[in-house]
Symmetry: C2
Subunit: 226 residues, 2 copies
């Protein structure tokens, strides 16, 4: 028997918390009663976003910090930085992230006139790059396929989708699934080992293509799970 | 205004129609009134499977042939061969597939003690390999993520999932979506250009991981599409 995980006992840090995906998740977690630290390269920018998120959620447990402080003071850390600055950001955070669960939600996707397309990742996936850069952290991958627009629209009580949670550390993926389940409408589903992260990271390109064709904010659900 | 597509006016060929995915789709299409030609390397083996499928579906419009005859006589052709024989099979079918819609559903996935994992594909994706080998065919990619087990279980009236249909030829993807819609419970959804096929092909590894963890036959649905 394992104790159920109460995500409100965890402080979640959001590296790149001023961007769209980081904002959406920070808002939903704050609203669910989870303390959040917004990280950014510049502490002032992080604090400005944190003030905005406190206002939007009507809560007081969102604060801002530079990325290093964010990583050091949080229990679980989400990497929501652009793919272009992923490696550089994590390289500077080896110490503060030691022993901690890192959730990587970064999509290696490029855009041209024909729309979105997957970018190659030498390490196999963005999450595996994180694993190589942070060998003493507990790296997971999740939250790639949930619409930032729907997350940030707090007028919508629920965000109806599943979040695939990948990782080789069962306990870490259970914590991340609890953080997914904390968002109304969202269900965290174990989605495989980290070596299966690339296709989940890149599936967002297909969701963007669907959004353009059908004028929606697509996500995914896993069928037959009840 | 375009005419709605009536899939029962098309004869569908299934290369590798004796395998699990080919069988499941052939059964569902036959049951939906669509004439099906089962292709295999050996015509006798194809005819033996066709006889079984006629029996299972209670229909008479399933027949078997060697792959070349299957490709020549069908209007639309599904490639459901193992990844290992994908290139070799298609190389021999350039002529019979000229001008035709090819639907590629092949998953480039390996297995080891730790489970399923994606295999690299030099051309970017299996579907793009098909496109390179068949420059005068209309290559699409679809039906990667639908459970062969559920397809083949005809006691289940419906297979509740979406099928992502990828391709750069709008009319071809519309035909393939109609072939998806012909299966009760299934919805064909445009999923992007062919260059976005790899992640859809490999997502089946995640679904297999989910099947193992949760003891299900997982598929996917796209949310927010109504």
């Amino acid at each position: 028997m394992t104790e159920p995980i109460d995500p409100t006992t965890l402080t979640v840090g959001v590296l790149g918390g001023t961007g769209a995906q980081g904002k959406g998740l920070a808002l939903r977690w704050a609203k669910a009663g989870i303390p959040v630290i917004i990280g950014s390269r510049a502490a002032e920018r992080a604090e400005a976003s944190a003030a905005e998120y406190r206002e939007l959620t009507g809560t007081d447990h969102v604060r801002g910090a530079d990325n290093a402080t964010c990583a050091a003071e949080a229990d679980v850390v989400l990497a929501a930085v652009p793919w272009e600055s992923h490696a550089e950001t994590l390289k500077g955070l080896v110490e503060p992230l030691r022993g901690k669960i890192l959730i990587d939600c970064v999509n290696p996707i490029g855009f041209d006139k024909k729309g979105p397309y997957p970018l190659p990742v030498e390490e196999g996936s963005v999450a595996q790059q994180a694993e190589q850069l942070l060998p003493e952290s507990r790296v997971t991958a999740a939250f790639h396929n949930v619409s930032a627009v729907l997350l940030a629209d707090l007028d919508q009580d629920e965000v109806d989708c599943d979040v695939l949670v990948l990782g080789d550390d069962r306990e870490a993926t259970d914590v991340v699934r609890a953080l997914a389940d904390a968002i109304p409408g969202v269900r965290g589903v174990f989605g495989g080992r980290l070596r299966n992260a690339y296709q989940v990271e890149c599936l967002t390109a297909n969701l963007i293509a669907i959004n353009r064709r059908y004028k929606v904010h697509a996500g995914i659900k896993i069928t037959d799970l009840g």
